[in-house]
């Protein structure tokens, strides 16, 4: 009786572990798609604002200062691509760690030695930004 219950629990755990594998895999695909979209958006925006900048500068009218400010904002905003790419790269590392952990959970015996399990790597996020406000400047 006890053995059957234990087997059922293990089977259920296996189902959950398989589901985690599948979800993590899908999440990775979603992030790849997101990265592609972000890259295309950044390329399009970049080309557009450079064209606008050139046309306005050629006119040398009173709107030049206003356009300079707008272009400045665009330059700051377009840096989101770098931030987002780093965040996605980091998320991929986290998913890889989770996947490795799940594999260990499904493959390794719970009675095995700790050395077989190893220690999960500590990941430190390179990007702590929650928005696109400009960063600090510090001269040494």
């Amino acid at each position: 009786m006890h053995t059957n219950a234990s087997e059922n629990a293990r089977e259920a755990a296996q189902v959950w572990a398989n589901a985690c594998h599948a979800q993590l895999s899908e999440a990775e695909c979603d992030m790849h798609r997101l990265e592609t979209l972000i890259t295309q958006t950044a390329q399009t925006l970049s080309a557009s604002f450079q064209t606008i900048e050139k046309r306005w500068k050629d006119r040398k009218d009173e709107g030049e200062m206003l356009v300079d400010e707008e272009v400045g904002r665009a330059v700051t905003a377009l840096q989101f691509h770098d931030l987002a790419t780093q965040l996605l790269g980091h998320a991929r590392k986290r998913i890889a760690v989770a996947e490795e952990g799940l594999k260990k959970l499904t493959v390794l015996p719970l009675t095995g030695s700790a050395a077989e399990w190893g220690v999960p790597p500590e990941l430190v996020a390179p990007v702590g930004h929650a928005n696109l406000e400009t960063g600090t400047v510090e001269l040494f």
């Binding site: 450079q50 272009v71 930004h129 400009t134 600090t136 001269l139």
Partner: protein, 120 residues
Amino acid sequence: MQSILAVDDSASMRQMVAFTLKAAGFNVLEAADGQEGLEKARGQNVNLVLTDQNMPRMDGLSLVRNLRGLAQYKHVPILILTTESSDAMKAQGKAAGATGWLVKPFDPNRLVDVVRKVIG
């Protein structure tokens, strides 16, 4: 015209830096990582190096240390432009010989001001 070497593995970031600094009258050279940056810096004299920190092959701090080991870059300003903002990382940058630490994203006008200030 003064030359600036912009080192970043993000093509869009290099594009924004180049766009900003070229508009301010500087000549901008680009490199996609620290290794390429070091090779380009060796090949010609630049007046300032602006580098990212987290890059493949060679990171920004290693690039700073390598450049400071070259006679021609002993006193050339080197700014680190990165998403990293911890005090520990800044301390490492200072110890490596960086001139300053700028956290992304940058404001174009402010970047030009800082570059003009350190380039002299």
